[in-house]
Symmetry: C2
Subunit: 198 residues, 2 copies
DNA sequence: CCATTAATAGAGTGATTGCTCTATTAATGG
DNA sequence: CCATTAATAGAGCAATCACTCTATTAATGG
């Protein structure tokens, strides 16, 4: 008999996913050929389809791997003792993910895919909903503590999300300035959440 | 001899562009086949390529037609007597274009295309730059009139743009509420531009 | 050290792609 | 009413696509 080493298998799988992410970010789902993924990953097509049944499944994997990690952070933020600390945890997480150079391309590819691929749409909506739920719960607590939010907790949560969505898109700009962006992002979030300051 | 009627020609061309826009918004550039455009426009492939040399050119036309109309509005806004009125004109224009149901799909398609198609990248960057220049000039005048902007004029202009970019993406959501969205958008712009109020 | 089977490569396949070419129709000017 | 040519359709083509199939290698457990 020969058994499968789950650790080695996961590693090889992750290597393919990483190569695919680069291609998808640059060319979108339909613009990426399975041959291009193979070339970048340094494998043959037989190997690729040994790990994933279809190209679509590779695309799903790129995101669901990431969403799992994010869900853990959302959970942690909600259970924070101070609501402010929880919000800060979420904002930090988002600011960090802004640093990923693949982010704008992957985001654009995801928007298009969500239209045509119902399963992927649900995947994406799930992550959005989890983040919004976490933000909303924290904002509700802050409002109860006397913070004057710009809008209701749920709508303010949406705006924070939207702000980051927009920033993801902006990271593709040639003159994008990460540190100025992060500072301004935090200041805007502060305004949305009614934090005192200049 | 037989001459070409420029008006009829433009009309037929516009019909193809409209059909193509719908396909591109739903499936992206690579996900849209020229056959699909023909089907939707109700024409044969021979006709399609009689009006446009390549699929890429059709995609460019979808945007450059729109950018021309926008450029005229930017121009009008900058030459407004009161800077506030000019800004309002721009915001109104953006809010109106948010109503286009194709907006989020086209935006996603555009982001991906900009990576791989240098000419299109310049086209897109040109419109962005024109809008930002108009916003910046108006904000500079407002700052000189005593308005206290959230950031410098140029960076505030960027944030206004980004806010709308984010809203374009949001219009794809199932529970998108246009009127609440517009109200909140204006309130956020008011904050960014230091307008007094609640 | 052998049986088993996971891992891999790459040639091959039918379907689809963007686009060309040819033929036909119909509108215009004289 | 005819010559000219814009407008249109659709068959056809080389290239590319996602994916399958077969063969080979190499790692594991007994």
């Amino acid at each position: 008999m020969r058994t499968v080493d789950p650790e080695k298998h996961a590693l090889r799988r992750a290597n393919i996913v990483a190569a695919a992410a680069g291609e998808f970010a640059a060319n979108g789902v339909d613009g990426t050929s399975t041959a291009a993924i193979c070339r970048r990953a340094g494998i043959g097509s037989g190997t690729l389809f040994h790990y994933f049944p279809t190209k679509r499944d590779i695309f799903h994997a790129v995101f669901s791997d990431d969403f799992e990690r994010s869900a853990a952070i959302y959970e942690e933020a909600v259970t924070a003792f101070r609501a402010e600390a929880g919000l800060e945890l979420l904002v930090d997480h988002l600011v960090v993910s802004l640093a990923d150079p693949l982010a704008p391309g992957l985001m654009a590819a995801a928007v298009l895919q969500a239209y045509r691929d119902e399963e992927f749409g649900r995947l994406l909506a799930g992550d959005e909903a989890r983040l919004r739920a976490a933000l909303t719960r924290l904002l509700e607590r802050m409002a109860a503590d006397g913070r004057r939010l710009a809008f209701g907790p749920d709508r303010t949560a949406r705006w924070i999300q939207r702000l980051f969505d927009a920033s993801f898109l902006a990271t593709g700009d040639r003159d994008y300035d990460p540190s100025a962006q992060a500072t301004e992002l935090r200041k805007t979030v502060d305004w949305l959440t009614g934090r005192q300051g200049s």
